[in-house]
Point group: C2
Chain length 492, copies 2
């Protein structure tokens, strides 16, 4: 006889770098997305939901390679095509804007929210699937579109519960930086490597300080380990210009703009960039968004390689404790800017676009850190089962509670051990348990047990203020709904 | 010089079998999911969101095969593992129930909503990504759990807008069918092929009629093309029993149960199944769910191979027109049942479970067919741009409207051609356009154009009832918000 091969049991494990979300984690995110969607909608943006799967060809950027087809994205071959999970919301928007260009309104304002996938090495707190919530305006060349998105970002942060003063939206312009590059002689096609060095140096200001950045702008820098990083080869005067760019933040927007204008004198693109920042500031002022919410700030250099005009970033300014208990600023939760070659890849025609992406998971983490999120949702009222032959009675109780809009359930595990039923109610964070044994049934009454009060009494048996409130009351069966409502209201 | 290879332009196309959702399609689904989630939550179910990606090993059913690894699922290899997109919500629940079995409450009631992916040949109206919205109770052996899900399904359908009388939840029990099989002598391990023939025959009653099914239960059936399908080889008397099962629906639940009891006499499992149906009917009656909402119906044979106890299905009973204009019943929008080997694959320990899956997209289609869904959402109030130098004024108008909660935007395309601005407002389904040219600005007034009324007048120029309502009014600039609110209210 043939030997039957036994299939080994599969491991019950989330794949590496992925995670599951339970209860309040899910409902709080859903609620946050709903609130964000409401603000986006009020600003005239329309919802779009593309499929999670795109052709690798349409996604661009990541080209299929026989040896490493999955670099950056999760991809698989189908017939002769490669398909992949989207890695952001912008690439699918580019595809949609090209595919439906004859049907969509122009300009096309759209928002979208959902998971994106990155085929990257997972790390602590870094997942390979996470939510993005984007809003973009396609086909609007005016910087009024950028100003609008900054205002919307400010409204959105306040709508989800970040207080004014606890965040700032910073605006910069890639053209200004290009102008600085031009002024210091790094505009040419042959200077790409030097421009890269300057960009990376600027990004390291926080970490290396002014002298470290100056070294990188000049001849180069030797780090503590003795490794040498080549510099951009700028003279002292040229380096002053670049350093001046980063230090251009003035006491108010007008001063900042004046500082920037001085730095880019003679560069057409640089001056255009300063003009745009000035226009954005004026448009925002007209809408009532002052520097307590949105500021012109030259230190914003995010993803500058990708953007072609205004760039913006929302930063939370309050302090939280890091994993070692040290205070630190929470940092960036959203960012975006203007990019122009969105549709061009598909149609050959340049279409201006600007948009923002909110990191929903980071924003949720911030609100949790501020104590604005409950970590556990309130559980259901639990109707305990004292006699399994009377399940119909318990079901009729639960139906009454649910019809009154009260979250409730009958215990559906093995009812033999009453202690297990109470442990279950505790695990569910239930506010109330209902008990109707044989005696109660005969007398037409039920017991209503206040589990919140019960827990408080258990914590502190001498608690004076609870003395007059028994944690369990006997009421007529007919008063079930009214008494539960009263107790829930009393629990706050 | 080396020839520069030109990259061909990618095609702007959704991958085959996938689609995009725009505007109201997205927001209506989001709203439906919110309402369903509220009902599930009230019933004590907790939210769960698993990652879209699972190991093929954990998904089970689809084993990776070197030649055709993608059969049924979208899968790819990572290091030596295979990963895949989930194809339903039950397999990930099985993994979660096993992985977190020491932490989850028992029983564990969870709901989940989101897309699933099927690697199938796409067809008209059949997509490879679609939404599922599931609720399951894991670890509750009592059929009270099944009854509860039927009641919840009924509440859910009414909550999303299906009127009572326009749907019915049908309940059956796989054990009863097993009992019938036993009674007709098809219980043995060696009769699997015959049982399969009987199941498939039952499923074809609608299409083949009684005589066709009888042929398949007996010696076999030759179809119109002359093809012969082998029968189950039942005698006339045995076939009577099977046919009787399908015709067992009585005038009320009690009669149906009595009919079924007669059919399974002598089969222990069959009698247990009838008892369970009787219990379910009693529990539902105690909660006030009569046969106008939930009925015991032996004709429900859905996925019987997979289920082990009660099965249930929600069907919409109103007629819609098919693509050829013929009336037909809308049919099933949700279904589920009890299955027992959920966690066993992982842990070796059997855990009873029961659950339902709502086909959200079908339910949306049904509500659209009933005229309960608007096909286009209302667009924003559009503030036209008469003078691009005065963008700040227009931005300040839009800010006022938005702060009053009114959906509004400034036209951000090229403002040169005013006709294009009105075409844009039309495409957006905008209710109102605001116009403030140089004269208006000098006089401190604005024009408010009623686009809904304008469209009605354009349709029917002699329309008496609109005579007194001009489609455009001039009001002071300071009355912008109040007058827009008034006009919106008048448009209903």
């Amino acid at each position: 006889m043939a030997k039957v091969k036994k299939t080994p049991r599969p491991k019950a494990e989330t794949p590496k770098g992925f995670r599951d979300y339970f209860g309040a984690e899910v409902t709080q995110r859903t609620e946050m997305l709903r609130v964000i969607g409401e603000v986006y909608h009020r600003y005239g943006f329309d919802a779009l939901e593309t499929s999670a799967v795109e052709t690798v060809d349409a996604l661009g950027k990541f080209l299929p390679d026989v040896d490493r087809p999955n670099e950056g994205v999760f991809a698989w071959e189908e017939d002769s095509d490669w398909l992949a999970l989207r890695y952001d919301m912008t690439a699918p928007l580019a595809r949609v804007a090209a595919q439906y260009r004859n049907d969509l309104p122009a300009p096309y304002r759209r928002y979208t929210m959902g998971p994106v996938w990155r085929n990257e090495k997972p790390g602590p707190g870094r997942f390979r699937q996470f939510y993005q919530c984007d809003a973009d305006t396609v086909g609007a060349p005016s910087v009024a579109a950028d100003a609008e998105i900054c205002a919307m970002l400010s409204d959105t942060l306040e709508a989800v519960g970040i207080d004014r003063g606890d965040y700032v939206v910073r605006v910069n312009n890639r053209k200004v930086l290009n102008g600085v590059m031009e002024v210091v002689g790094l505009a040419g096609d042959d200077k790409e490597s030097e421009r890269g060095i300057v960009l990376r140096a600027i990004d390291k200001l926080d970490r290396l300080g002014e002298s470290g950045v100056r070294a990188l702008l000049g001849d180069g820098r030797e780090d503590d380990s003795g490794d040498f990083t080549k510099g951009a080869g700028l003279s002292e005067t040229q380096a002053d210009k670049v350093m001046g760019f980063m230090a251009a933040l003035g006491a108010d927007g007008a001063e900042t703009v004046a500082n920037l204008r001085g730095l880019v004198t003679g560069s057409e693109i640089g001056e255009a960039g300063v003009d745009e920042l000035e226009t954005i500031a004026a448009l925002l002022a007209a809408q009532g968004y002052g520097p307590d919410r949105i500021v012109i700030d030259p230190s914003v250099v995010r993803g500058l390689g990708y953007y072609t005009g205004p760039v913006y970033e929302a930063e939370l300014t309050f302090e939280i404790k890091d994993e070692k208990g040290r205070p630190r600023q929470f940092g960036s939760v959203a960012g975006g800017g203007r990019y122009d070659d969105l549709v061009k890849r598909f149609t050959g025609q340049a279409v201006p676009a600007t948009g923002v992406s909110i990191g929903v998971d980071r924003l949720l983490a911030a609100l949790t850190a501020k104590g604005r999120m409950t970590t556990q949702a309130q559980g259901p009222v639990v109707i305990t089962v004292m006699d399994r032959e009377r399940m119909a009675d318990y079901q009729s109780m639960v139906a009454e509670l649910r019809q009154a809009g009260i979250r409730a359930e009958v215990y559906l595990g093995n009812p033999k051990n009453f202690g297990n039923q109470m442990k279950y109610a505790d695990k569910r964070n239930s506010p109330i348990a209902i008990i109707e044994g044989g005696d109660e049934h005969a007398n037409g009454v039920i017991q209503i047990k206040d589990l919140i009060l019960g827990a408080k009494i258990a914590e502190n048996a001498t608690l004076e203020e609870w003395k007059d409130r028994p944690s369990q009351i006997e009421v007529p069966r007919s008063a079930l709904v009214a008494e539960v409502q009263k107790m829930l209201a009393g629990q706050g």
